[in-house]
């Protein structure tokens, strides 16, 4: 097993809590954050369930002490909240003390503001400050500026696997000695654009989502931001840093099957898991728990389940669950949310449950963990897949 890259801090805001502590509490109590929409006007309000963070934009602005004339999107504000918590936990006070990078995944970016003010730009000057938020990188810039990070700052957008790729890139940069520490993760606010987009694909459930269930009806869209801090061994040793866990394996592969759908044999997912295990020098039997992508769409769970069966074997499947029934599918943030959950699992030695599961998928006969399970956990594998055939796997170790 390779030692991996040290994780020294984490932060999160999701529909099950505005801090790591609150998220942990909800996970342990098996309390989901799936509700009806409150903050967005849409004709689909009564036909979908979502993992929505209930604070309004105005409340977030107040919490962050922003000026009235700011141009931060919801995606940026959620990102700042989570990234700040991660830095605090990692006891980083002087952001410029080491070569510090910031890598953020997003798919929505500032779309929530664009869809709100698109029509007003030609009419009045009041909201033209939001025009800049049209490019997704602006959200990363907002967060970097708030944190005072001036050097290597970049944004990854591979749809729903964005944050996994951000974590992977950060780990590779530290390993290669290009950075001393890096804040990695992702953020996506809820938007009418994504609600309608997923609605046209007919993969939004009108009930609480049921990952890996035979009768699953689709996903619940969610919103969240989550970041983790990765630091070099030298910093950890010199500053006597507390290590929460390690990112030990990572891989990215492409399904090369369809722009949005996954192949029935889960080729991309299979390749990502296989390569990540190789990077971590871990055999499939050593995996204690799989935090699955498990969006609860008919296509994903079938494809992912098939790929997992190919990797682990039907009879030797490790304990697995999808936590999407807690948070909804938080798109570009999902892998970072699940990275935080995986680290919590390692720390607490608890597998968080796959809520709402009743009947195994007939062709797979895989049963996820449906209640909190106390178990010694050393190795956790986490999957994230996205449009464009993007499949990524991360491996976290104690």
């Amino acid at each position: 097993m390779s030692k991996g890259i040290a994780i020294t801090g984490m932060g999160i805001i999701s529909s099950v809590g505005a801090t790591v502590e609150e998220n942990l509490h909800s996970l342990k109590a098996a309390t989901p954050g799936i509700t009806r929409l409150a903050n967005i006007e849409t004709r689909h309000r009564d036909s979908i369930m979502v993992g929505e963070i209930k604070q309004t934009n105005a409340q977030l602005e107040t919490q962050l002490g922003l000026e009235k004339e700011n141009n931060l999107s919801r995606t940026s504000m959620l990102g700042i909240i989570a990234a700040k918590e991660a830095l605090t936990q990692a006891s980083i006070n002087d952001i410029e003390a080491h070569r510090t990078g910031f890598i953020s995944g997003t798919s929505v970016g500032g779309m929530d503001m664009t869809e709100r003010y698109y029509d007003s730009y030609n009419e009045s000057l009041e909201y033209i400050r939001y025009i800049e938020t049209q490019h997704a990188g602006s959200t990363t810039g907002d967060i970097a500026k708030y944190l005072g990070i001036k050097g290597y700052v970049t944004t990854i957008s591979t749809a729903c696997s964005s944050a996994a790729n951000a974590i992977m890139l950060g780990a590779r940069m530290i390993k290669a000695g290009k950075l001393d520490r890096v804040i990695v993760g992702g953020t996506d606010g809820m938007s009418k654009f994504t609600i309608n987009g997923f609605n046209t694909l007919m993969i939004l459930s009108d009930e609480e989502c049921t990952p890996f269930d035979e009768h699953r009806k689709g996903l619940n869209l969610g919103e969240a931001a989550a970041y983790i801090v990765l630091e070099s061994d030298a910093i950890v040793a010199n500053e006597n840093k507390k290590v929460l866990g390690y990112v030990s394996g990572w891989a990215n592969a492409n399904d090369a099957y369809h722009q949005t759908a996954s192949s029935s044999e889960g080729e991309g997912a299979y390749l990502a898991m296989k390569k990540a295990l190789n990077v971590a020098k871990i055999s499939p039997e050593q995996v204690d728990y799989v935090n699955a992508h498990g969006t609860a769409t008919p296509n994903n769970d079938m494809s992912e389940g098939t790929a997992m069966t190919r990797i682990f074997g039907k009879e030797t499947m490790p304990v697995f669950s999808s936590t999407k029934a807690f948070t909804g599918h938080t798109l570009a943030a999902a892998a970072a949310v699940e990275a935080v959950f995986s680290i919590l699992s390692l720390q607490e030695n608890i597998v968080f449950p796959n809520l709402n599961f009743k009947t195994p998928i007939a062709d797979l006969s895989m049963t996820p963990q449906t209640t909190c399970l106390e178990k010694e956990l050393d190795v956790i594998l986490s999957n994230s897949f996205g449009f464009g055939g993007n499949c990524s796997t991360l491996i976290f170790t104690k």
Partner: protein
Amino acid sequence: MNKCYINGVASITAQPTTNGKFLEDIISYNDIIFKADNPNYKDFIKPSAMRRMSKSVKMGVTASKMAMEQARLEMPDAIITGTGMGCRQDSEKFLEKILYDDEQFLTPTLFIQSTHNTVGGQIALGLQCKGYNLTYVQSSASFESSLIDAQLMLTEDSNKKIVVGGIDEIAKTSSKFHILNGELKQQPIPNLELLQSKTTGTLLSEGATFMVLDGEKSTKNIAEIVDIEMIYTASIEETKKNIEDFIARQGLKIQDIDAVILGNNGDRQFDTYYQSLQTSIFTNTQQLYYKHLIGDYHVASAFGYWLTCNIFKHNNVPSIVKMNNLEVDEHKNILLYNQYRGENHSIALVRKC
């Protein structure tokens, strides 16, 4: 450290840059926003596939094929793309339907093609490439983010062959918003007189630049990307120091740099970043620019690599890209520097092979 060689490069821009000539025919525009000069996409894409493709996908797929042909590469190990705005035409159309049709009568196609990684995904799908696939959206450092990833990958494994590209397209309505917020000129100016402009803002265009990168030394090598650095924010003074430090780290002195390619875009407010270098550390260095030809957009800086490779190949610098009168017998080291509105700075050193 392992090397990072360029084995092929192709660029679709507002100029005829895919005709095999080195900037011999120049198109002049008199618009704030001008479109790419389309190559014959049918030579590269089947008509059945092309019908569903947006401009970004067409440009990206074509430029990637051109670069791969040049590098005689059939299947890459990785596809890494950068884009500032992604598929903004389809995003805009989908958004307008949401807003103006009250979220009704929507079809999935526009949404499916609206994600930033559409081009990278489509190239992978076309090639059946199951390797590493990533898309960066870091404004004017989007392409450079891809390069840094590729360079890192070659450090990990020098056997990799990597397709790297940058794509951005113009959209009907949302591109014009940048006139309203002052990122663009308020009135049309002749593109070829960009540097004479006394106003703020720049000119917007679109394009796709792709390269094939390889860690192995071979006769295919055109140039070597020696190093590349991204700096999110820096003042003019810090920038000068950043560039001096960068050059020193390569074991070089300023006089070892045969030419510097700068991202001057005619914005009076922010071209000061370049001018302060032109009148200080680079006064005795050949100074080149290109945004008067191809406009500015988030991945315009990728064109600097096309320009560099062609200078090496042709052993000649077209006078239209020169900002000063210094002549160079043979170019070996070319430095590239770009920024946009004081953010997303990138510095790179490219060396002739």
